[in-house]
């Protein structure tokens, strides 16, 4: 089985987001980076599939040179190789991103066969465009299910579960297929030290695509004005219990 996971490098934000002076990006000089949470689960799922079925696993990202960290992180928990579409750090819009991914998938498939399953996150934590997986699936003419919290390969089908209205809708897609997944799909493992060491030696292909003009053009980012409240302190320690219960009664949830 051959699988691909597409991941995005995103900053790990703290309690308050700070923008760069030009309002085009988040100030990240104090921040670490990680794989966007949904995709982290995609990586874990691909590794689990490989553990059951064997084959080839590939992780792909489009991002700055430093995004190699996220590829290595993925390889540290078991992905076999990486493809890095290296950008100058400027954000790419969804159409452009999908286009570049499609090109590199086609090239890889021409060389080493079709991907049976391609994982995307349902949406990235930062830009939240909700569409790249679908755009890629459309270009490759493959079925795609989105927002999944369950993915099970059964023969040449993949059974997909999507949370909807409290329960779960179930889809069955013929392989090859594209899925976009959500955090909660699984609990991603931590990389082991040997895994980390192996990751450094795994093959990584780097390409430098050219960014086309954007039709969804970012003008600027704005930190929304939070309603900064001064919480009313009901009390300190256990002594506050009576005041809390008064409040619960007043709201009407105490009985």
């Amino acid at each position: 089985m051959k699988t691909l996971v597409c991941v995005k490098r995103v900053p790990m934000t703290g309690g308050r987001i700070v923008l760069t002076e030009d309002e085009q990006a988040i100030e990240t000089k104090h921040l670490g980076f990680a794989i966007s949470p949904h995709e982290e689960c995609g990586v874990e799922e691909a590794v689990r599939l490989w553990e059951h079925h064997g084959g080839d696993t590939v992780v792909l990202t489009l991002g700055p040179a430093d995004a190699e960290e996220q590829l290595r992180d993925s390889m540290a928990i078991g992905i076999a190789r990486g493809i890095h579409l290296v950008t100058d750090g400027e954000e790419w819009d969804p159409e452009a991103t999908a286009g570049a991914i499609v090109d590199v998938i086609r090239a890889d498939e021409a060389a080493s066969g079709l991907f049976d399953l391609i994982f995307f996150g349902n949406e990235s934590a930062d830009s939240g465009g909700f569409q790249i997986g679908l755009r890629v699936a459309h270009a490759l003419d493959r079925p795609c299910a989105t927002g999944l919290k369950g993915v099970a390969v059964d023969g040449d089908l993949v059974r997909c579960e999507q949370e909807e209205g409290g329960g779960r809708d179930v889809y069955e897609l013929p392989l090859p297929a594209v899925v976009t997944v959500l955090e909660g799909l699984n609990l991603p493992r931590y990389p082991s030290v040997p895994g980390r060491m192996r990751a450094g030696r795994k093959p990584l292909e780097a390409l430098t695509p050219v960014r086309p003009a954007s039709r969804l053009e970012r003008a600027r980012l704005v930190v929304p004005e939070g309603e900064s409240k001064q919480a009313e302190v009901l009390g300190r320690g256990p002594d506050a219990a009576a005041a809390v219960v008064d409040l619960l009664e007043q709201i009407g949830v105490a009985s």
């Binding site: 309690g15 949406e123 079925p143 600027r220 919480a231 009901l234 320690g237 506050a240």
Partner: protein
Amino acid sequence: MNLVLVEHVDGAATDVSLQALALAAGLGGETHALVIGPGGAAASVNIPAAVVHVAEHDALDAFAPDAWASILGGLAEQIGATAIVAPGSGHATDAMARAAVRLGEPLAANCISVTPGDPLLVTRVRWGGSLLEEARLHTGRALITVAPHAVVAAPAGSPGSVETFTPEIADADLVVRVRDRVAPPAGGVSLADAKVVVTGGRGVGSPEGFVVVEELAALLGGAVGCSRAVTMSGWRPHTDQVGQTGNKIAPEIYIACGVSGATQHIAGAKGAKKILAVNTDSEAPIMSIADYAVVGDLHEVLPAISAELRRRRA
């Protein structure tokens, strides 16, 4: 002309769909609505649009996003829509993204406001609402989804007319469709619907520490939640997680215990009507969004609240 994809449940348009209609109204021009599948006709009578198109087809009993995209795209072309708007729910977003790629158009997801013009200006949500993006949409046909609960819903009203049609649906567009449904787990209150949510964060300290959280939630008939730090530590299942990548909640009161209040978490708790924070740190970020606070160790405070509740009930 604008076309709005309206979702419906039990024969009525959903709130988020009415919000999408409201945002579309801001684009100017006439608004048409599209409802798809069983129950659409019933819902159509209360949709405030010039024309409500009702797509009916046997194959639409189960959700099939490619079929929806095909219908939506086809209708938009047929009526010459210059904007297509849909609520930012899971199904509608899915269908919109498929429609966008079929039409060869960009999609602006999770918008909270639009300003007509060329280019069209949109403000959209990033980071689950912790950040906004002002963007220009360069196209003659804008596809926009609307962030849930960010826009005041359009008042219910009667449509100018209702036009029912039977779309043509290719077999290929039915490959992806809901084949089965897994019922929600029985019992318990879901986080999404709970009137009271009691959440524990890193400050709970251990999986066993949640006993005090569970006790209070049970007494209040509420649901237990947790922060991402807790799920990542393996203390609670992800289904309990409140946050940008977890559950979005909208209780009457949200009791956040030992939660620092990272943007990730707050993105999921914004819908709460009141927030009570229990934290040893009186200046944790959670305090700036909380309405009420108890400064103290949750392991002492929560049992005291539970005891007080029991005492008053006795």
